[in-house]
Amino acid sequence: MNTRSSTLAYGLLGALPIVGLLALWQAIHLSGIAPPALLPSPAAVFLRFFQQLGDASFLQNVGVTLYRLFVGFFVAAVVGIAAGVVATGSKLFASFLLPLVRVLAPVPKIALYPAFTLTLGYDDASKIALVIADALFPILLATYQGTSAVEPKLAWSARAAGVSPLRTLFTVVLPAALPSVMTGCRIGLVISCIVVFLAEMITSTNGLGHLLMRAARNFQTVDMFVPLIAISILGLLLNSAFNALRRHLLRGFPEEK
């Protein structure tokens, strides 16, 4: 099977529904059901988007958003994975952690956001804190459940071979649970995107979300949609990057033939 042509074929297949969505958007715009003040034409939005890509201040805003997004996500991933793995290994730690997770996870962290902005300021720190708070739990839950379901014999063999408990957890159990963990991280990544955008929309002096708010307040709908498609395109790029990383990390798993 020629993998290069099949990858191209699958790529085109994936592009199909997106093109369909854009066509739907254009059709709605043309039909006039939606007032142009609420829904501009996709052509106008994309044109403006490419224009903005050449604008330094726009790129600065994109950079700020990306910075907050990635820092928040990485901290959430590290903490979530570590906590999930250790909870599998230590019953005592789990008995403390699990009730906390059960109580804190469902709380809408957005209600805590004013407290964050008052204590951490209006800049990056409060947004990163919110991202961490929201992205942490899906990653933690997926890791914990994934590592708990790993075949115990693997851990026992490692321990019998003289590997320390901590090393066993992180070098044997965690890799075995990697598919689950990666799914959790994928969800955490999407949540990070949503949350950083939302936080910038509520209180911020810069970032993509802030740009959206400014445009919305001035009824400049084309400028309002530019950050939205920026975040969509970002989602697409992150998805491809994530798939590539997954293929690399999960080499050897039966499902990744």
């Binding site: 230590s90 009730p99 469902p106 809408p108 408990p165 159990v173 969800i187 955008f197 309002m224 499902e255």
Partner: protein, 260 residues
């Protein structure tokens, strides 16, 4: 000994006490209106719970969340399972989902309001979108990991593809799907509240955001405690359900690496 029976309950209680202590210290340190200490906030909890209007609000929100979750289960799990077994389906849906999910629905509210108005429908849509996220991806993962041999045996015995999905892939992927369900429950509660941020008539979010906008922070934090408690109860119930459904999938003994 009586004490030994209650020992398992000790860590959770200590954990909660720990949170309350940290909260109290933080609010004393910062001394802001925006972060009232638990001693003040918790007093509002019985006030809220004994107000019939508030109880109605809470039940109303939970109703919307339930509808959103059921719709998500019906839609997301089959799609996720299909994606896991069919490269065609995966290649088709993955990019589309990755383009739709990261967009904050609050920004799309005006468009959503065009078709769904300001009532229940638009909120249920937001909850639906939030809940399908973990469900699709975990179902996808669970379905991918199903052993080929099982499916070959079923196909050899004459089972059609849709039946194979329902009878083989679904149960085998169930443990992973239920991980997705646990996260879905969490996200369901969160989106239930955030769906009421822009426009609302009744609901938990209504209680939270109204107090937030009026600066009545002890009610905000009391609501947070109530939502946390709700989430805890739902999670406990869910864990029971999970045990009943996939008890067979748990390893007979849990992983023991150390003495704790």
């Amino acid at each position: 000994m009586v004490l030994r029976r209650f020992l398992p309950a000790l860590p959770p209680l200590l954990a909660f006490a720990g949170i309350l202590a940290i909260w109290e210290l933080l609010s004393l340190y910062f001394g802001l209106d925006g972060l009232p200490p638990p001693s003040v906030a918790l007093r509002q909890v019985p006030v809220i719970l004994t107000d019939p209007q508030s109880l109605f609000d809470i039940v109303d929100s939970l109703r919307r969340m339930a509808i959103g979750i059921v719709l998500a289960l019906v839609f997301a799990i089959p799609v996720g399972l299909w994606m896991g077994r069919s490269r065609f389906a995966a290649a088709f849906f993955n990019p589309l989902l990755s383009v739709i999910y990261p967009v904050p629905k609050a920004a799309l509210m005006p468009i959503i309001m065009l078709w769904l108005g300001v009532g229940d429908a638009s909120k249920i849509l937001v909850i639906f979108l939030g809940v399908t996220l973990p469900l699709i991806y975990h179902s996808y993962q669970g379905s991918r990991a199903v052993e080929e041999k099982l499916l070959w045996s079923a196909a050899a015995m004459g089972m059609q593809p849709p039946a194979r999905l329902a009878r083989i892939v679904l149960p085998a992927a169930l443990p992973e799907i239920l991980v997705g369900c646990r996260t879905a429950l969490v996200l369901g509660l969160i989106t239930m509240v955030t769906s009421e941020m822009i426009a609302r008539q009744t609901g938990i979010g209504n209680l939270v955001f109204q107090s937030l906008e009026m600066g009545i922070y002890d009610t905000v934090y009391a609501m947070i405690v109530i939502i946390g408690a709700l989430g805890f109860i739902l999670d406990v119930l869910f864990e029971r359900l999970r045990g009943w459904l996939v008890g067979w999938a748990e390893p007979a003994q849990s992983i023991i690496v150390g003495s704790t």
